[in-house]
């Protein structure tokens, strides 16, 4: 027995004891092929999945290397059946390859004829392929490159795409690094992406994905289409690009609900791309509007499902995906893999934290009691009303005021779901409220004011969660929120995860009504945050600041 830091479980999870002296070394060694599932303070859990293993194969790791790493660091004997399983999964990648044949164009080639035969028998694959050139090679319709990769992945025989890219229309773009420089991990991410051709870069919120996008654009020096989640994000990308690159206002266009500018660099929203008029996608022509050299997908984990289909047609162009997590609620990670590309870079976020790029945060859950009468109303209410009753109890408002008083002067956000509650809080605290009906321009004005320190409190509703850049909030208070989806939590904390100039720890309060469904949802949130490694405490309201 090696007495190593890693324990390999028979359900394909890996447990890494962080206190072990070899833990760091081991983490780097397993990162290429293991997905970090959760990272509470003592034992991090990784998982081995086919997709994770195929991502490793795409990066050049083979079965022998993976098994060697596992055995080297494993504390206990690893069951033979698991090793056989891993080797089998790894070996499935690359038995089929997409290549550019000098005479025939796009072809599917195999190193293992029986696999090709098996795949050709499938009904889903046949319509995507053309004539059989020889026993090992089949012609592929160029427009089906993406679909083919998707289908082969689903069949369990992921294809390696070596068919190269078209360069697209050239357009000069340079990074302007007079007063700033790229952080090491951002450079590594860009290099890894460029080397791989197409793929996804995984960086935690606040680690500067936009800069990685800009650097990739500078590498490509070609027309670029950037797809983002919403208009606010689009504006922020534009601001960032203007600040970091040689691009000018005229070269960057916005293609959204309100504007339709097609320029060498065009930023479009997922919303507008998925808009349908009379059942047909109205803006598909944007994809063909220019000879795009690079397509950037922001927040890949939020990419709507129809976009995948549109993306399938863009396979000949370089594609960059940027995201904080590869995990999707709808399980379409396979589509990300086959249509955008394998993971090219995964930042060890703990490293980024310790290097000072991300602020550690303290999570505090404060429990308040419903008043006697409120409990009666709650108990007799319809199930669909219960959460609202619990979440909007006035007790929360009183507590919010106490917390705000305690953190007076620190930039602070209050986040909630129910507009009435938020309006009331805004009134009581004397600060602006940003909700769905707030215009984009007003939003930007308030955010800028907050950033500049002119205002130190903002009440925001759910809509403010997506893609906002608020570098200086150091306290966030959540009074209500939908159902503890992990993405939600990642987003919210992301707003608070920014390096503070004075190195102070950020603070995240979550106010929960005891003995109600609010507390049940809070349990999900607590679990997720703890899994991310955040210190988490639960306190009764009367004991807060005691």
């Amino acid at each position: 027995m090696t007495d190593g830091p890693l324990i390999v479980q028979s359900d394909k999870t890996l447990l890494l004891e962080t206190a072990h002296e070899a833990a760091d070394e081991c983490r780097k060694a397993i990162a290429p092929f293991a997905e970090l599932e959760r990272a509470p303070e003592h034992v991090h859990t990784y998982r081995l999945t086919p997709l994770g293993l195929w991502n490793a194969r795409a990066a050049g790791h083979d079965a022998e290397q993976v098994i060697d790493v596992l055995l080297r660091y494993s504390r206990y004997p690893v069951p033979h059946s698991l090793l056989v399983d891993i080797a089998e999964i790894l070996d499935r990648y690359g038995r089929l390859r997409l290549e550019k044949h000098p005479q025939h164009g796009l072809v599917l080639i195999t190193t293992d004829r029986p696999v090709l035969e098996e795949v050709l028998r499938g009904t889903k694959v046949k319509p995507l392929l053309g004539a059989r050139i020889d026993e090992d090679t089949v012609l592929v319709h160029p427009s089906e490159r993406g679909h083919l990769k998707q289908t082969l992945l689903k069949l369990g025989w992921p294809a390696e795409d070596l068919a190269g890219y078209v360069d697209g229309e050239a357009h000069p773009i340079e990074l302007r690094t007079d007063d700033w420089s790229m952080r090491p991990y951002q450079q590594q991410a860009t290099d890894a992406f460029w080397h791989g051709g197409s793929g996804v870069v995984v960086l935690p919120c606040g680690a500067g994905k936009t800069i990685v996008g800009a650097a990739a654009m500078a590498q490509a020096a070609a027309t670029t289409l950037i797809l983002v989640t919403n208009t606010v994000a689009a504006r922020q990308w534009k601001d960032e690009l203007l600040k970091r690159t040689s691009l000018t206002e005229e070269e960057i266009g916005e293609y959204s609900g309100s504007r339709k500018e097609v320029r060498p660099v065009t930023i479009a929203t997922y919303q507008v791309m998925t808009t349908r008029r009379k059942g047909v996608y109205a803006h598909l022509e944007l994809l063909d509007a220019r000879d795009w050299g690079l397509i950037v997908y922001d927040e890949v984990h939020l990419l709507p499902a129809p976009i995948f289909r549109m993306t399938a047609d863009l396979q000949a162009r370089r594609r960059l995906g940027l995201t904080a997590t590869l995990v999707r609620e709808d399980g379409r990670e396979g589509d990300v893999f086959s249509l955008i590309g394998p993971k090219r870079y995964d930042a060890p976020w703990k490293d980024i934290e310790t290097q000072g790029w991300i602020a550690p945060a303290d999570c505090v859950e404060v429990r308040v009691d419903l008043a006697q009468e409120e409990r009666f109303v709650y108990a007799t209410a319809e199930p669909e009303d219960r959460y609202r009753l619990a979440a909007s109890t006035p007790a929360k408002g009183r507590l919010v005021r106490r917390i705000v008083e305690h953190h007076a002067g620190e930039p602070l956000l209050v986040i909630g779901q129910y507009i009435d509650q938020l309006d009331e809080l805004g009134e009581q605290l004397g600060c602006p409220v940003i909700k769905g009906e707030t215009t984009v321009r007003e939003r930007q004005r308030l955010f800028n004011a907050f950033r500049a320190g002119e205002i130190d409190k903002l009440v925001v509703s759910k809509v403010a969660n997506f893609s906002i850049d608020l570098p200086e909030a150091s306290v966030a208070i959540q009074v209500s929120g939908t159902f503890g989806s992990r993405q939600e939590e990642a987003q919210r904390l992301g707003r608070v995860l920014r390096p503070k100039q004075d190195g102070r720890t950020a603070r995240f309060y979550s106010i929960v009504a005891r003995d109600t469904v609010d507390a049940e949802f809070a349990a999900h949130r607590q679990r997720f945050l703890a899994e991310q490694g955040y210190a988490y405490t639960i306190i009764d309201a009367e004991n807060l600041f005691a």
Binding site: M1, I7, Q9, S10, P40, H42, T45, L71, V78, A530
Partner: protein, 767 residues
């Protein structure tokens, strides 16, 4: 083996008498069936050794080359010397002589190097066409080459087809009369020269002599004097050992999960025996394995005595035995060793589970898929093939993983006469089971598995690879507890009472939730107790959210209480209640559950009467009763005597040295007694009678026998014996058309009265 200055033994019994004690001991040890019951003297030993059944047992354990040698001895014309035998098997004498000596030591062959004789049973068991050669004819041939050339090249072509077997060919009117002159077709030319003989109207057969001549004195086209090679992949022995140990740990863990599950929710025994497919599937999902593996686990647990059928009222269920609880007390290495040893020597062919039993007793049994733990899966061949398979893996050498087909071929070479396809299946199943058990890793035999062959302690052999159990966990803020290794059983039991198992393996991951903490409180634990246990058993500080959770659940737990009572008493005046508690009526037990409420287990009418007797006047109310709380089920059963379907009286037994030499001593004593007996030719010992009858039947000599029927009346008759086998003599009476059978033990005496073969007409080839 041969001693100088002695007269050539005329019978096997004489030869055995010339052996020293060690040689006889060796015979008894290698053919242990000869020891039961103990033979009275050497004659009895010889007689028994030459019976069909005993010889079959011995021959069935021979490897391919030994069988080839016996076939050659049976096929070649007597006398057979070493040179002819070596030519017969096409191998040099150096390879042949030691194997022949082995066959002599087994009393399957006797005689000198210049006159090797297989015992009669060998001819019978190998059949009339050993190695595809035809029957013996008594015709003498001169120069065979010239005769064959004389018949012409076409005829030679026909002979070539028959040379290597089978020796028969279809021909119309095979028995037509034909001479050299009248012969027209190649076959007729052969018939005319006697190079083929008619077997019946439609078949000709190549006589053995001709066949041997055509084969150039070889009996077999080719032979393999050594076991086939066990080539395979090279693997790292140390990694293989660790992979095997990983499988071993998984095995123990899965067996525990399975049996704990059965203890809580026993599974019914099927009407036809065993475990049903649906139950197996549900067990498989609960324990996180697939169905075939779960079937294997059940069988292994059963073999180790950890599982049994138990009658619970009107149903029969599968339950863990008390032996299971004892087994849990052992440390990991011993737990595994118990399972591995039970598997190794088990009689059941585990691989049949989930497949069709083509060797089943009835047609419907052969149709169905076999259920796990079904009855009648005992197969004598199973432990034998298991042992051989592991020997094959050992023979491949450390760090070599032989291919499955190579192992099958190797095992088949060692037991060519046993089992056929079933033997090959058993070999493959053994390889799969051995991997599951952790006796092999990465396809090669693990170092610790050699203890099974050596007889050394298996648990000690694997112990260095088994992790030391831990007694603590790491608690984390996401409400998980990680045990960084296999937990001590007591610690594990306490932990699962308050947390749910999330992940299995070398470590354990457990998750606390409101439900799991509530479960612990339901079992009667207090929140202080839980806090204390967590603090004591965690190597990390107890996370605040977990402490909070325990307190939060405890706060709400037990606020509402539930229980049963036969009778309740309530009174608004608390003083009355207190009074009843301290000085209530005799024979009634009260318990106070609230300031104004008492309950009693006694029935209402009893309580009413007693209270009235005491001078009180309670009013009866009518209401309804309540519910139970149960502790988790941990049911157990006692093992049955196992039902064994087939007759397993032949099971291999290992004799100790003491037993073997006791047999030898008994034989020697019997010999001495016999040597004293005066000559009485009319009253030979029964054993020699059998030998005599055998000789008579072979040479077709008429024999006088004295026969005792079941009433005890003796009669004499003259018969023409045909065959002696399995305790019966088959013979024709003087006027009989049909043969009769006579029980050998009723034949009191026998004497041969003829000197030449009986007149039975044309040559007959025995079928």
């Amino acid at each position: 083996m041969t001693t100088t200055g002695w007269t050539r033994p005329r019978t096997l019994a004489e030869e055995l008498r010339s052996w020293d004690d060690d040689a006889v001991a060796r015979l008894v040890r290698t053919r242990p069936d000869l020891a039961f019951p103990t033979p009275g003297d050497t004659g009895q030993l010889a007689a028994r050794a030459t019976t069909h059944a005993s010889a079959a047992r011995a021959i069935n354990r021979l490897d391919e080359f030994a069988v080839d040698l016996l076939e050659a001895l049976s096929a070649l014309p007597e006398p057979v010397d070493i040179a002819a035998l070596s030519r017969g098997v096409d191998q040099p004498a150096e390879l042949v002589v030691p194997r022949v000596n082995e066959l002599r030591n087994l009393a399957l062959v006797w005689g000198g190097d210049d006159d090797l004789r297989p015992i009669r049973a060998v001819h019978e068991l190998l059949g009339p066409t050993p190695a595809g050669l035809g029957p013996v004819t008594t015709r003498h041939f001169g120069d065979l080459d010239r005769l064959i050339a004389d018949a012409g090249p076409d005829a030679k072509a026909v002979l070539d087809k028959l040379t290597w077997g089978p020796p028969t060919g279809r021909v119309d009117k095979a028995d037509r009369p034909v001479t050299k002159a009248s012969a027209r077709t190649p076959v007729e030319r052969l018939l005319a020269r006697g190079l083929v003989v008619p077997k019946d109207a439609g078949t000709v057969v190549l006589p053995r002599q001709i066949g041997l001549h055509l084969r150039g004195g070889r009996v077999h086209a080719s032979t393999r004097p050594v076991p086939p090679p066990l080539a395979g992949k090279d693997v790292s022995a140390s990694i293989a050992d660790r992979a095997a140990a990983g499988a071993a740990l998984d095995l123990v863990r899965h067996v525990e999960l399975l049996l704990d599950r059965l203890g809580a929710e026993p599974v019914p025994v099927l009407r036809t025996g065993g475990v049903g497919v649906r139950e197996l599937r549900s067990l498989a999902t609960r324990t996180g394995t697939d169905e075939p593996v779960t079937g294997m686990l059940l069988e292994i647990a059963y073999a180790a005595g950890l599982l049994t059928e138990f009658e619970a009222g009107s149903v029969e269920v599968w339950l863990p035995t008390h032996g299971y609880d004892d087994w849990l007390e052992l440390d990991l290495a011993h737990r595994w060793a118990r399972l591995a040893e039970a598997w190794f020597s088990g009689l059941r062919a585990i691989g049949l589970v989930g497949r069709r039993d083509t060797g089943g007793a009835t047609a419907s049994a052969r149709e169905r898929l076999v259920n796990a733990l079904a009855p009648d899966l005992e197969r004598l061949l199973a432990p034998e093939i298991r042992e051989l398979t592991l020997q094959a893996l050992a023979a491949a050498g450390p760090g070599v993983a032989p291919g499955e087909d190579a192992v099958v071929t190797w095992v088949a070479w060692h037991r060519p006469r046993r089992g056929g396809q079933f033997r090959d299946d058993l070999t493959r199943w053994t390889l799969a089971e051995a991997a599951l058990l952790g006796l092999t890793g990465l396809g090669t035999l693990a170092t610790h598995a050699r203890a099974l062959a050596d007889g050394t302690d298996l648990a000690e052999a694997i112990a260095p690879l088994i992790p030391v159990p831990v007694d603590h966990v790491l608690l984390q803020a996401d409400l998980t507890a990680v045990a960084p290794g296999p937990l001590l059983r007591e610690v594990y039991d306490e932990l699962v009472a308050m947390a749910d198992v999330e992940s299995h393996g070398g470590a354990g991951v457990f998750r606390f939730s409101e439900a799991s903490v509530r479960r612990a409180l339901d079992l009667g634990k207090s929140s202080e107790g839980l806090h204390r246990w967590l603090a004591e058993h965690s190597r990390t500080p107890v996370p605040q959210p977990l402490s909070y959770l325990v307190d939060d659940v405890a706060r709400r737990h037990g606020v509402l209480r539930l229980g049963t009572a036969s009778t309740y008493l309530r009174c608004d005046d608390e003083a009355t209640i207190s009074g009843l508690l301290t000085a209530g009526p005799p024979g009634v037990v009260f318990r106070r559950i609230a300031p104004t409420v008492l309950v009693s287990p006694s029935p209402p009418d009893v309580v009413l009467t007693r209270l009235r007797d005491a001078g009180l006047a309670p009013l009866a109310e009518s209401e309804d009763g309540g519910v139970h709380l149960t502790a988790p089920a941990r049911r157990r059963g006692e093992p049955h005597r196992r039902r064994i379907g087939r007759d397993l009286g032949d099971a291999r037994t290992g004799l100790t040295d003491a037993e073997v030499y006791a047999v030898v001593a008994s034989i020697r004593a019997g010999d001495r007694v016999e040597a004293e007996r005066p000559d009485e030719p009319t009253d030979p010992a029964p054993a020699e009678t059998i030998g005599l009858l055998g000789m008579a039947s072979e040479d077709k000599l008429r024999t006088w026998i004295s026969y005792v029927d079941h009433n005890g009346n003796a009669s004499e008759r003259i018969v023409a014996p045909v065959r002696v086998a399995d305790g019966w003599l088959t013979a024709y009476g003087v006027d009989d058309d049909q043969p009769r059978t006579y029980a050998l033990h009723r034949i009191a005496a026998a004497r041969i009265i003829d000197d030449g073969p009986s007149d039975t007409g044309t040559e007959e080839t025995t079928e």
